[in-house]
């Protein structure tokens, strides 16, 4: 078990090394892409800065809390896009039968599919994440550690949601764009000031669409730390990850190369 885990880690680092080497074949291009991504993110954040500048606060949230939200969500998305983005291609692999190639490897097929794509430009998201953390005004060793921890847990939830959505392809055809749109909707939910969701909306925000674990809970953990919030986030990430992985393995039972639509 331990040896298997160490082997997976070794493979993971080898894949990341290859990704970096590929990206740096054209150093200028790679760095420009990272810079563009950072500018892209910062310009989106600028829109929110203007809103908060005009309105002061939104149900108690100021730009500082919003900056923390951007720090956590950008770090979580960067981790997803750099190390596990392959999962978004799962519907395509299922419909054209390419999943066979991944199932035949001696490693975990989910691991191999997840690491099959990486977008170097998303290092710009990490850059944005850290810039926003330092702009938030909540700077300190404790908050820094909590920001890193919640970013990782938010990544687990983000990845789990994407995996569940991608697995729809096991049961029905043509779900690539549908999955993309549902995932986008989830991210859009997670990038809003969490305090606009109250009452029933808040329950929906933490359960069916768990975007609250991308915004509300991490920001609360960083700003007013309580063990029960951290425990809630850890349990939520374990729960969603377990559901997603089980859903994937359940979907695999319905998969055959015959899922390929069209004529060869």
């Amino acid at each position: 078990m331990v040896a298997k885990f160490i082997n997976l880690c070794k493979l993971f680092f080898y894949i990341q090394k290859s990704n970096l080497k590929t990206a740096f074949l054209n150093t200028g291009d790679a760095l420009v892409n990272v810079l563009m991504m950072t500018i892209n993110n910062l310009s989106f954040i600028f829109m929110w800065w203007v809103i908060f500048h005009n309105k002061g606060n939104i149900n108690g949230w100021t730009f500082s809390e919003m900056a923390l939200l951007f720090a956590v969500s950008n770090n979580a998305f960067a981790t997803y896009a750099l190390f596990a983005r392959g999962i978004q291609n799962l519907p395509e692999y299922i419909s054209n039968g390419n999943l066979d190639n991944y199932l035949l490897t001696p490693r975990s097929s989910l691991f191999i599919v997840s690491t099959s794509e990486s977008t170097f430009a998303n290092w710009g998201d990490y850059l944005t994440g850290f810039i926003m953390y330092f702009l938030s005004g909540y700077v300190g060793w404790k908050t820094f550690f909590l920001m890193l921890l919640t970013s990782f847990l938010a990544f687990v939830i983000l990845y789990s949601v994407r995996l569940i959505v991608s697995c729809f392809a096991f049961f029905t055809s043509d779900t690539q764009r549908l999955g993309d749109n549902i995932f986008m909707a989830f991210l859009t939910f997670g990038m809003q000031p969490a305090t606009i969701f109250t009452g029933w909306y808040k329950i929906l925000f933490l359960t069916i669409i768990p975007a609250g674990f991308l915004s509300l809970v991490p920001v609360r953990i960083i700003t007013e730390f309580e063990w029960k919030d951290l425990l809630l986030m850890i349990l939520a990430s374990i729960f969603f990850a377990t559901v997603a992985i089980r859903f994937y393995h359940w979907g695999l039972k319905y998969y055959s190369s015959g899922n390929r639509f069209g004529v060869r």
């Binding site: 291009d29 203007v50 149900n59 043509d174 764009r177 993309d180 809003q192 969701f197």
Partner: protein, 262 residues
């Protein structure tokens, strides 16, 4: 002239039918639209209550609906053209009795039209449910729909220009994203430019996004014949510039491209 026109009309019809047939894609898009309108309606409702501004959500959500109609209906033509250039597909079409660029553009328009009509149709219903009375009159509605559609075709043309940058760039993905984001901000795609500081609006005025997005969509809550005339004038100017760039890039590209890729 008529024959040439009918070729493109047929292409338009084929891509329209293809897009219409892609039900999963369309339902995903409408689901996303619903979520977007729901979230931002909630946001402006909360801000409206907080600042005591009634109907704030109505103005901003109708604005958002037409902004999303222009943006979400855009068919990512830049990626299609870039792939065609990189893979060499373009070279196979270049000696055919049809303009490769117009073919791709008209196909994209067919696709865009389906998405646009669905977004406006479905969006109008849900926005009415969420906000109640719209900020425009009934007779202004078809004009707003028409002019936002024209903006959508211009937006597609702009992204076609981005796709042709594949002639000079190794990858256009990030450039496309950066242009998209600039359009979001300078075009006021989520929030109207009225909320931005004056210095920022002055900069935005020098970009095509100001007229293609903001000025046209602003007709939703600030309709007047003078504004409409200004929209026509500025959009004509920017479309001339975009077409000039596309003609220049496409002429260069046609000479360079081969079946092994551009």
């Amino acid at each position: 002239m008529n024959k040439a026109f009918s070729k493109y009309l047929n292409l338009f019809q084929i891509s329209f039918k293809q897009a219409w047939g892609n039900k999963a894609n369309l339902s995903g898009m409408l689901f996303f639209l619903f979520i977007l309108i729901f979230i931002y309606n909630r946001l402006w409702e909360v801000i409206g209550i907080q600042t005591g501004e009634n109907n704030l959500n109505s103005t901003f959500i109708w604005y958002l609906l037409f902004a999303e109609a222009v943006i979400l209906s855009s068919p990512k033509i830049e990626r299609i053209l870039f792939e065609d250039i990189r893979s060499g597909t373009m070279a196979y079409y270049i000696n055919k009795p049809i303009s490769f660029f117009l073919m791709r553009y008209v196909e994209s328009l067919g696709n865009m039209t389906v998405c646009y009509l669905l977004i406006v149709g479905f969006g109008t219903i849900i926005t009415l449910v969420f906000t109640g009375k719209p900020p425009f009159t009934l007779w202004q509605y078809p004009l707003i729909v028409l002019f936002c559609y024209i903006s959508g075709t211009l937006n597609t043309l702009l992204y076609a220009g981005v796709g042709l940058c594949g002639l000079w760039l190794h990858s256009i993905r990030t450039l496309g994203m950066a242009i998209e984001r600039l359009a979001f901000i300078f075009g006021g795609a989520i929030f109207p430019l009225t909320i931005y500081p004056e210095w920022f609006v002055e900069i935005a005025k020098w970009t095509p996004f100001y007229s293609i997005y903001y000025l046209t969509i602003k007709l939703v809550y600030d309709f007047s014949w003078a504004n409409l005339g200004y929209v026509i004038l500025l959009n004509s100017f920017w479309s001339l510039l975009i077409i000039s760039f596309i003609t220049y890039a496409y002429t260069k590209l046609s000479k360079k491209v081969n079946i092994y890729g551009g």
